[in-house]
C-alpha cells in the first residue's frame, strides 16, 4: 500500500489518543493513529473503572461534545453507580466498573470503523518541522516518514518510562509494554520543557482465592442512566467488595520501608498527593489503624481483581506478605504485582488553551503527557486537542472551552494557566461553577458546540433540546397548577416530615420543598404528562435549586466579561513598564489567551491586570 497523504498524526491510542483521532477523523480529516502495540489500544493499566467524582462529569461532557468514552464505558460496563447521592446534584458523579478487555475491544473497533482513520502499530520517534518551525511530518523509529500538518501527542506514561517494585527497576511502560525513549529526546530537541512525574498501581489478585464472605459486598445500581446521552440503563452484573488493612499490614510496610524506592530516593518523579501509595499513607497517617480497600473485578471473563487502595512499589515478596495480612486475602494469589512508574511529561504551561504547544505550531499534546492523571482527564484533553488539530488543518477558528463551560474547560485552564507540580486529578472542588456545570446537564451545556463542530448529529441535538423544552414546559405547568388542601396531600406532606397546607398551593411550591420529590406528587396531580426520568430530574433540580442556579448564572456572566477580552498574540509582555517584573515574566511564560486567564496566573495581581487593560485600550486607540 502506498504511503497515504495524512493530515494529522495522533501518537498514542490510549484514552487521549483515541478521542483525538476519532474527533479529527469525524471532522473530516485524514488521520493516522500510531500505537506501539495495537493490543493495548484503550488499555486501562490502573483501575478497571470509568468515572467517579468529577471524573463522571468529565465523561458526560466528553459525550456531549461527541467523544467516545461514554459509549465505550456503557458498552463495557459491569457495574454502575451514582456517587455522592444524598450530597446534592452539584457533586453527583456517575461511575462504572468496566470489563477491561471489552472496553479495549470496543475502542479498537471504534477506531477501525471510523472513516478517514488509519490505525497503525509503530513507534513515533520524531516530529519534523518546516522552515517556519511548524509541524511537517512524523517519523517512526523504523524510518517510515509521514508528512502531516498537525500532530497530537498522547503518549501517556510511555516516555522514557521506568517501573519500580522494591529494588527491582525495569525500563518498561505500564503493563510490561515497551517504553518510548526516542520521542522524548526529539521533543526536548523541539524546545519543549520535559519533567519527571510518577504514579503507581496496586496488585491484581485471583478472585477465586479471595474469601469474600468476610468482606462487605457493594452492589451496583439497577436503575442508573449510563454515561452516554439516551443510553438507557447500563448492565450491572458485578459486585465490588470492601475490606481493610490492619496494624499487622502496617507493621509489615513499616518494616520494609528501606526497600521502597519511594523512600530510598530511587524514584525522583513527583507523585500525586491525592492518590498515594499504601506506604505513603502508612507513613503520613500513623494514627490511622486501618485503610479502606476495594476489590474491583477486572472483567466478566477473567478472575483478575483490582485491589483499589493498595497502590505500592514495595518488593514483590513484601507485597505478598502484606496482602496475606488482610482479612479475606489470607490465601490470595497475586496475578500481577503492584509497581510505581516514572515517566517524562511536559510542563503544561508550554501549552495554549487549545492544547497546541506554543513553541511548535501544529503540535498538540493531551493526557498524562500534559501532567494530568486519570483516563477521563486524558480523554477530555484528547478530544479538545483532536478538535483543534482538525480545525487548524481546515483553517477554522480554534475551539476553547472555558471554566464556565464546565469541567473539561476547568481542567485545561488549570493546567495551562497554573501549571501543576504533581499529576493533576479533576475534583469537584476545582470547579467554582459546580452547581451549574453538573453531570446531568452536560448535554445542554456542550452539545451546541459538538453540533457546530460536526461531532453531534442534528437528531441527537434536537433530542437534547426536546428534553429541556419538556422540562421547561413542565415547570410552567407546575407553576400554574394549584392543588387544593386534602387529606391525601396533607398525609403525604406529613409522611415526608413537612408542614401541611391549609389554603392550597401551586405544585411548584410543593416541589420546592426538599422533602418532596416529583413522583411523590403524582397522587395530587392527576393531569401530569408522562415524562421520562431525565426530564423529571431536570425539573426537580431546576425547581429546588432555582435561587442557587440563578446566583451561579450571575457569577458566570460576570466572569464572561473577562473571558471575552481576548489578548492579542503579539503583546511583548517583557517590555510593558506598567507591570511589575514578576507579572511580566509570568505573562510572558503563560501567554494567556484572555484577560480572565491572565488574572488567574499566580503572581499576576489585579493591579497588573489593570495595567494590562490600560495598555490594551491605548493600543486599540491607535
Amino acid at each position: 500500500m502506498a504511503i497515504e497523504q495524512y493530515e494529522i498524526a495522533v501518537i498514542g491510542a490510549g484514552h487521549a489518543g483515541i478521542e483525538a483521532a476519532l474527533a479529527a477523523a469525524r471532522m473530516g480529516c485524514r488521520v493516522l493513529c500510531l500505537c506501539t502495540c495495537l493490543d493495548a489500544v484503550g488499555n486501562m493499566p490502573c483501575n478497571p473503572s470509568v468515572g467517579g467524582t468529577a471524573k463522571g462529569q468529565l465523561v458526560r461532557e466528553i459525550d456531549a461534545l461527541g467523544g467516545e468514552m461514554a459509549r465505550a464505558a456503557d458498552a463495557a460496563c459491569i457495574q454502575f453507580r451514582m456517587l455522592n447521592r444524598g450530597k446534592g446534584p452539584a457533586v453527583y458523579s456517575p461511575r462504572a466498573q468496566v470489563d477491561r478487555m471489552a472496553y479495549r475491544a470496543y475502542m479498537k473497533s471504534a477506531l477501525e470503523h471510523c472513516p478517514g482513520l488509519t490505525l497503525m502499530q509503530g513507534e513515533a520517534a520524531a516530529v519534523e518541522t518546516d522552515a517556519q518551525g511548524a509541524v511537517s511530518a512524523v517519523r517512526l523509529a523504523s524510518g517510515l516518514r509521514f508528512p502531516v500538518s498537525a500532530v497530537v501527542l498522547a503518549t501517556g506514561t510511555y516516555l522514557c518510562s521506568r517501573t519500580f517494585a522494591g529494588e527491582v527497576s525495569t525500563h518498561a511502560g505500564p503493563d510490561g509494554m515497551l517504553p518510548a525513549d526516542r520521542l522524548s529526546t526529539a521533543l526536548a530537541e523541539l524546545g519543549l520543557p520535559l519533567r519527571r512525574f510518577k504514579t503507581g498501581t496496586p496488585a491484581r489478585l485471583d478472585g477465586r482465592t479471595v474469601d469474600y464472605s468476610v468482606m462487605q459486598r457493594q452492589e451496583g445500581e439497577t436503575d442508573g442512566e449510563g454515561f452516554a446521552f439516551g443510553s438507557g440503563t447500563p448492565r450491572a452484573q458485578a459486585a465490588c467488595y470492601l475490606t481493610y488493612t490492619n496494624e499487622r499490614t502496617h507493621d509489615i510496610i513499616r518494616g520494609a520501608l528501606d526497600r521502597s524506592p519511594l523512600f530510598s530516593g530511587v524514584i525522583e518523579g513527583v507523585g500525586p498527593r491525592y492518590c498515594p501509595s499504601i506506604e505513603d499513607k502508612v507513613v503520613r497517617f500513623p494514627e490511622k489503624a486501618r485503610h479502606q480497600l476495594f476489590l474491583e473485578p477486572c472483567g466478566l471473563d477473567t478472575s483478575e481483581v483490582y485491589l483499589q487502595g493498595l497502590s505500592t512499589s514495595l518488593p514483590e515478596d513484601v507485597q505478598i506478605e502484606m496482602i496475606h495480612s488482610i482479612a479475606g486475602l489470607e490465601q490470595a494469589a497475586v496475578m500481577r504485582f503492584g509497581y510505581a512508574i516514572e515517566y517524562d511529561c511536559l510542563d503544561p504551561l508550554c501549552l495554549q488553551a487549545t492544547l497546541e504547544t506554543k513553541a511548535v505550531p501544529g503540535l498538540y499534546a493531551a493526557g498524562q503527557l500534559c501532567g494530568s492523571s486519570g483516563y477521563e482527564e486524558a480523554a477530555g484533553q484528547g478530544l479538545v486537542a483532536g478538535i483543534n488539530a482538525a480545525l487548524r488543518v481546515q483553517g477554522r477558528e480554534p475551539f476553547v472551552l472555558g471554566r464556565t463551560d464546565g469541567y473539561i474547560g476547568t481542567l485545561i485552564d488549570d493546567l495551562v494557566t497554573k501549571g501543576t507540580n504533581e499529576p493533576y486529578r479533576m475534583m469537584t472542588s476545582r470547579s467554582e461553577y459546580r452547581l451549574i456545570a453538573r453531570q446531568d446537564n452536560a448535554d445542554r451545556r456542550l452539545m451546541g458546540y459538538g453540533r457546530a463542530l460536526g461531532l453531534i448529529s442534528q437528531a441527537r441535538y434536537d433530542h437534547m433540546e426536546e428534553k429541556y423544552a419538556r422540562a421547561r414546559a413542565e415547570i410552567e405547568r407546575l407553576r400554574h397548577t394549584g392543588v387544593a388542601p386534602s387529606d391525601t396531600l396533607n398525609d403525604l406532606l406529613a409522611r415526608r416530615g413537612t408542614s401541611p397546607v391549609r389554603d392550597g398551593a401551586a405544585l411548584l411550591e410543593l416541589l420546592r420543598r426538599p422533602q418532596i420529590g416529583y413522583n411523590d406528587l403524582a397522587a395530587v396531580d392527576p393531569g401530569r404528562p408522562d415524562l421520562p426520568r431525565e426530564v423529571i430530574e431536570q425539573v426537580e433540580i431546576e425547581v429546588k435549586y432555582e435561587g442557587y442556579i440563578r446566583r451561579g448564572m450571575q457569577e458566570i456572566e460576570d466572569q464572561k466579561r473577562l473571558e471575552d477580552r481576548v489578548l492579542p498574540d503579539d503583546i511583548d509582555y517583557l517590555s510593558l513598564g506598567l507591570l511589575r517584573t514578576e507579572a511580566r515574566l509570568k505573562l510572558d511564560a503563560v501567554r494567556p489567551r484572555t484577560l480572565g486567564q491572565a488574572g488567574r496566573i499566580s503572581g499576576v495581581s489585579p493591579a497588573d491586570i489593570g495595567g494590562l487593560i490600560v495598555y490594551l485600550s491605548s493600543r486599540e486607540d491607535k
Binding site: 467517579g52 467524582t53 468529577a54 456517587l83 455522592n84 444524598g86 450530597k87 446534592g88 446534584p89 452539584a90 457533586v91 458523579s93 481493610y244 491525592y274 490511622k288 486501618r290 485503610h291 479502606q292 476495594f294 483499589q308 487502595g309 475534583m427 469537584t428 472542588s429 459546580r434 452547581l435 416530615g497 420543598r513 426538599p514 422533602q515 429546588k544 435549586y545 442557587y548 446566583r551 451561579g552 450571575q554 460576570d558 466579561r561 473577562l562 477580552r565 506598567l578 484577560l595 480572565g596 488574572g599 488567574r600 495581581s605 489585579p606 493591579a607 497588573d608 491586570i609 489593570g610 495595567g611 487593560i613 490600560v614 485600550s617 491605548s618
Partner: protein, 452 residues
C-alpha cells in the same frame, strides 16, 4: 475584577455637613436610581436628561420620602467610571446618607469596595495608571489617620476571631469536598447537622458584630455622651465649655434648650459626640415636653452620661429623677457652680461612683471631667466595625450563613448549603482584606477609600 454589577457608596466629605453625596455605578445603576429617587416633574430619572441636576424625592427602602434633594445621572461611557453612573446630592445628615445607602442596597446595589469607582474608571480606560495612583495618594493622605485606626482594629481585636471563623468555614468546605472527591478513602463523614449548628453560631456572632456597629459606631461618629440635668443647672454652659465655643444658646431662662444639640469634640485623640439636652422637669409646655422626651432618648442611647447638678442649690425632686435615670449606667455627676457657695450634695455618692465639682463658668475642674470621659470611653477594641463597607460585608456574610442555615433546616442537600458557606468565607476574607479571591482588590487600589 471586571464586574459591573451596581455598586453604591457614600462619596462626600465628613458628616454632618451641608451636602452628602451618594454615588452609584454599574449596569443597572439607573434602575437602582429610579427606585430610590423620584423626580418632582413626574418622569423617571432614567428618562430625564443626563448630566443635569434633577430635583426630586429621595426614597427610603420602604418607599417613604427621606429627603427632598438633587440627583444627576451620567450615561456611560461618559462618566467617571465609564459606566452608567448616578449621584444623589442629599442633605448632609448621617441618618439620611445611611438610609439612602440602605435604600440603594435594597434596590439591588451592593456596597462598593475600597477604591472601586476609581478602579472601574481605570479598568475602562478613563484614566491611566499614573492618574489613578495620584488619586489614590490624594485620598490616602487625607484619611491616613482613619486608615491606620481601621488597620489597627483589624489587626487587633476582631481580626483574629473573624480569621478563625473563616478558617472554620473553609475547614467545613474542605471536609465536604474531601469526602466527595475521595470517596475511596475512609474519611470521616461530613457532619451536616454539626456544620449547620456551627454556621448558626457564626451567623449569630456576625450579627452581633453588625449590631455593635449600628449601636455605636463610635470611632467614626464619636462616643455618644448625653449631658442631662434639670433645667438651668448649666448643662449648655458645660457643653459649650467642652465644645470650646458657644455652640448652644445659654440664657438664665429655664427650658432654653428644647432639642438635642450635638457636637463632635476630640479629647486626647478620641472622638466624642456630645449631646446637650433639654432640662428635665415637670409641668413644661408641649414643645418643651417633646424636648424632654428627646432628652430621655438621648440618655438611653448614649454610651456615657454626664449628669449636671446645681451645687449652689439643694437637691430637688427633679434632681432625684436624674439620679434614677443614671442608675446602672456609666455616668458621672457634675456638681456645677463650684465657684458659688455650696449646698450638701452627699446624696450623689450613693448613685454615682464619680462626683466632680466643677465650674462651667470658670472652667475650674473641667480636666476632671475630660479625664473621666477618656477613661470611660468604650475601649477601641470593643468597637468592632469601623466602616459602612465592612459592616455591610459582615451583614452580607451573616445573611449568607443564615441562608445556609435555612437550607440545612429545610433539608436541602449539603452542596447548596456549602455554596452559601463559601460565599460567607469569601465575604469575611474581604472584611479582613485577605486575597481569597483574585478579584479582591489589592495593589494600588487597596489604598482608596470607599466612594472614590
Amino acid at each position: 475584577m471586571f464586574r459591573s454589577d451596581v455598586i453604591a457608596a457614600y462619596s462626600g466629605g465628613r458628616l454632618p455637613g451641608a451636602i452628602g453625596i451618594v454615588r452609584m455605578s454599574g449596569d443597572g445603576a439607573f434602575d437602582v436610581l429610579d427606585r430610590i429617587f423620584r423626580p418632582k416633574r413626574g418622569k423617571k430619572m432614567s428618562e430625564c436628561n443626563f448630566n443635569q441636576m434633577i430635583y426630586g424625592e429621595l426614597l427610603a427602602a420602604d418607599g417613604q420620602t427621606l429627603d427632598i434633594c438633587l440627583a444627576c445621572a451620567y450615561k456611560g461611557p461618559h462618566s467617571y467610571t465609564g459606566e452608567d453612573m448616578a449621584e444623589i446630592f442629599c442633605h448632609g445628615s448621617e441618618a439620611i446618607v445611611a438610609a439612602a445607602l440602605r435604600s440603594a442596597y435594597h434596590a439591588g446595589a451592593r456596597p462598593a469596595e475600597a477604591g472601586e469607582f476609581t478602579k472601574r474608571g481605570f479598568l475602562r480606560g478613563k484614566m491611566d495608571l499614573t492618574a489613578a495612583e495620584a488619586v489614590a495618594d490624594l485620598i490616602y493622605a487625607r484619611t491616613e489617620q482613619g486608615a491606620k485606626n481601621a488597620a489597627a482594629l483589624l489587626e487587633g481585636y476582631h481580626a483574629r476571631p473573624l480569621a478563625a471563623m473563616k478558617e472554620r468555614l473553609l475547614g467545613l468546605i474542605a471536609h465536604f469536598y474531601a469526602v466527595c472527591d475521595y470517596s475511596d478513602e475512609d474519611i470521616e463523614p461530613f457532619a451536616y447537622a454539626q456544620a449547620a449548628a456551627q454556621v448558626a453560631d457564626d451567623a449569630r456572632a456576625l450579627e452581633g458584630l453588625y449590631e455593635g456597629y449600628l449601636r455605636s459606631s463610635a470611632l467614626k461618629d464619636g462616643v455618644p455622651v448625653a449631658v442631662v440635668g434639670r433645667p438651668n443647672v448649666g448643662k449648655s454652659s458645660l457643653f459649650n465649655r467642652l465644645a470650646g465655643f458657644e455652640r448652644a444658646i445659654v440664657t438664665d431662662e429655664a427650658g432654653t434648650t428644647r432639642d438635642v444639640v450635638g457636637q463632635h469634640i476630640e479629647l486626647e485623640g478620641r472622638l466624642f459626640h456630645l449631646m446637650d439636652t433639654a432640662g428635665i422637669r415637670e409641668g413644661a409646655g408641649q414643645a418643651e415636653r417633646m424636648g424632654i422626651d428627646r432628652s430621655y432618648a438621648a440618655a438611653r442611647d448614649a454610651s456615657l452620661i454626664v449628669a449636671v447638678f446645681d451645687g449652689s442649690r439643694p437637691p430637688s425632686a427633679e434632681d432625684l429623677e436624674i439620679l434614677r435615670l443614671c442608675r446602672g449606667r456609666t455616668a458621672a455627676a457634675v456638681v456645677n457652680k463650684c465657684d458659688l457657695p455650696a449646698c450638701d450634695w452627699a446624696v450623689l455618692a450613693d448613685a454615682f461612683d464619680t462626683v466632680l465639682p466643677l465650674s462651667a463658668r470658670t472652667g475650674e475642674g473641667l480636666e476632671g471631667l475630660t479625664g473621666w470621659l477618656c477613661q470611660n470611653a468604650p475601649d477601641s477594641g470593643e468597637i468592632l466595625i469601623t466602616g459602612q463597607r465592612q459592616a455591610a460585608l459582615i451583614r452580607e456574610a451573616a445573611e449568607a450563613l443564615r441562608q445556609a442555615q435555612q437550607s440545612a433546616e429545610l433539608g436541602l442537600t449539603a452542596d447548596a448549603f456549602l455554596l452559601d458557606a463559601e460565599r460567607a468565607a469569601r465575604l469575611i476574607g474581604q472584611v479582613l482584606g485577605e486575597d481569597v479571591d483574585i478579584d479582591i482588590t489589592e495593589g494600588i487600589f487597596s489604598r482608596f477609600c470607599v466612594g472614590k
